[in-house]
């Protein structure tokens, strides 16, 4: 392949082009050979459970971490060779709010603007615009220490929008936010994507990836375990889940035996239920018959259409956390 210097995204049309990225911390392989190709102007979802390597991947792409091996070009510039050129073109919305705790919200935004080289007046004007847009005008005067978690995240988002970067990296932008905060963040991201910004959205929530992303890479243990459009991902695995209530007459073993010929994968025990992925609804009559023969009654059988959560579960072997569950445990 011909080595090109300078910008080459005009040729490839890729905003993010990562090849075989690897990064280990001690013996933990945080990123273990991840390749990503994100076309310019598209929204790409990076989906995975906690500790899957999503944040490490984003930190490499945003020049905060050097990869152990592999190479990545962002906006046509190599993240290791030309970090400053990359930094001019990206906005990072960090998982932990990357803002100064002691300064006020407004001072934070002015500081970021000034560091981008804006004249003082422009930086102030831009800060006020963003504060107003993200509903932070009033708290903007106060020290960030006094902000709620949601307000910090909004300020962090504002800080990454000071210069309207062509590529935005929201790293779990809604984790830990209340429904209002989530809606506000989604609105901003949605506006950005309509304006043609390339977005690499990192998330633990299938719902979020499904909502924005044209393509999704599911990451687990530092590897891409599946990639495609949300629709493709859903189609690639079971279309429906058969859920059977285990009772006195219908034992787990009997149920397993009854559905074995029809299940698309190993049935999973979830509490008092046995859940089995189904590929095809055509065999539904036979399934019901087989279960009835094993002693099941009709109210013990349930068929649920595959949700994105099931996709996630099947691909990573980990149950998907939902916003609701998380809210309850907090």
């Amino acid at each position: 392949m011909l080595e090109m210097s300078g910008r080459s995204d005009g040729d490839s049309g890729l905003a993010i082009d990562a090849v075989e990225l690897r990064k280990a911390f001690g013996s933990t392989k945080a990123v273990d050979g991840i390749s990503l190709a994100v076309p310019r102007g598209s929204v790409f979802g990076l989906l995975g459970p906690n500790g899957a390597g999503k944040t490490t991947c984003v930190r490499i792409l945003t020049t905060l971490l050097r990869p152990d091996s592999g190479r990545a070009r962002v906006a046509g510039f190599d993240v290791v060779e030309d970090p400053n050129e990359v930094r001019k073109r990206i906005g990072l919305v960090g998982q932990s709010a990357s803002v100064d705790e002691i300064l006020s919200g407004r001072q934070n935004l002015i500081m970021v603007g000034r560091l981008y080289g804006m004249p003082s007046g422009d930086a102030k004007k831009r800060a006020d615009e963003l504060l107003e847009c993200l509903d932070l005008l009033e708290p903007g005067k106060k020290s960030v220490k006094t902000y709620s978690g949601g307000m910090r995240r909004r300020l962090d988002l504002a800080a990454s929008l000071v210069v309207s970067p062509p590529i935005l990296f929201p790293d779990e932008p809604t984790t830990g936010l209340d429904p209002n905060g989530r809606a506000a963040t989604w609105e901003v991201i949605s506006t950005m994507t309509k304006g043609g910004t390339t977005v690499l959205l990192t998330t633990q929530y299938m719902e979020e990836a499904d909502r924005f992303a044209e393509r999704v890479a599911v990451i687990d243990h530092g590897k891409v375990v599946a990639e495609g459009t949300p629709t493709e991902l859903k189609a690639r695995i079971s279309n429906a889940t058969l859920v059977i209530q285990i009772g006195d007459v219908l034992t787990e073993e009997a149920a397993r035996n009854a559905i074995a010929p029809f299940a698309a994968g190993e049935p999973q025990r979830r509490g008092k239920e046995l859940a089995a992925p189904l590929r095809d609804l055509g065999s539904i009559a036979e399934i019901v018959k087989a279960l009835a023969a094993a002693g099941a009654t009709l109210d013990q059988i349930n068929i649920a259409k595959a949700s994105m959560d099931d996709v996630f579960f099947e691909l990573t072997g980990q149950p998907q956390k939902s916003h609701v569950e998380e809210g309850q445990t907090q």
């Binding site: 002691i102 560091l115 080289g117 210069v163 309207s164 910004t197």
Partner: protein
């Protein structure tokens, strides 16, 4: 939401040479660090309150029982001791700035804002340079407070304008060196507790086993050797000499003095 738009071309700001740009960045970082002071005034305690406490503690509590060679214990000896002491306190608080800087930098490294700075197209030099300069301003504030405190307890500069300016310049130079050392340690350990421990284990013996608080003449032989070769002693001796605080280099002193 016209505020939020996508940019086709990167924002490059004003077209400037890289040196002017770095200078601008440093100014912003200095501004950021100095803005912290009114909001967290206790950060200044290390360079203002603490030295004054040391002056009072050594000058009046211990000083009442300390006499310099050739002076009888009494009120006169106490006044002479305070004259001797101030240069030591000056240097001590500048040297202590290495610890507070290391702790501050280590804390900074754990803050989320570092990710923000590092993802911006700014020079690495600006980030550290801005912090060093801001800390230097704090150090200068401390020197001013100490000088006033010294004048109040009877200390003075007796050698004329040039030497006095040279003494203050040397103090700023020491502060700069200590801030750089502290910045290095803070970046290295990335943990404020470790930075603090390293600081005290190294800096405490260096400042106390020196000529900062007492003359080295009557120390046990091995302590005397340590004190006389101690760089802190050399700094204190230079400051005392420039201020004209009656310091006489011992005849058998090794080269650092």
């Amino acid at each position: 939401m016209s505020t939020i738009t996508a940019a086709e071309e990167p924002f490059t700001g004003r077209r400037k040479g890289s040196l002017a740009k770095t200078f601008d960045e440093i100014r912003v970082i200095v501004w950021r660090n100095l803005f912290h002071i009114p909001r967290v005034p206790e950060r200044l305690a290390d360079v203002t309150v603490m030295p004054v406490m040391f002056v009072l503690l050594f000058g009046y509590v211990f000083g009442s029982a300390i006499s310099l060679p050739g002076v009888e214990v009494g009120p006169e000896a106490s006044a002479a001791y305070r004259e001797f002491l101030i240069a030591g306190i000056f240097v001590q608080s500048m040297v202590f700035m290495s610890i507070t800087t290391a702790v501050g930098v280590a804390n900074d490294m754990r803050e989320g804002v570092i990710d923000r700075f590092r993802s911006l197209p700014i020079s690495r030099v600006s980030l550290l340079g801005g912090r060093v300069i801001a800390t230097l301003v704090e150090g200068w504030l401390g020197i001013t407070v100490m000088a006033i405190c010294g004048l109040l307890v009877g200390w003075g500069a007796h050698n004329g304008f040039v030497e006095t300016v040279a003494a203050f310049a040397l103090l700023v130079g020491i502060a700069f060196a200590m801030i750089c050392i502290g910045t290095f340690i803070g970046q290295l350990v990335k943990n404020s507790m470790t930075a603090q421990t390293i600081g005290f284990v190294v800096v405490f013996p260096l400042t106390f086993v020196s000529n900062a608080f007492v003359p080295t003449d009557n120390m046990p032989a091995f302590l005397k050797a340590f004190a006389e070769w101690n760089p802190v002693s050399a700094m204190v001796a230079a400051i005392r000499d420039l201020f004209g605080n009656g310091y006489v280099v011992p005849a058998d002193a090794p080269w650092p003095l």
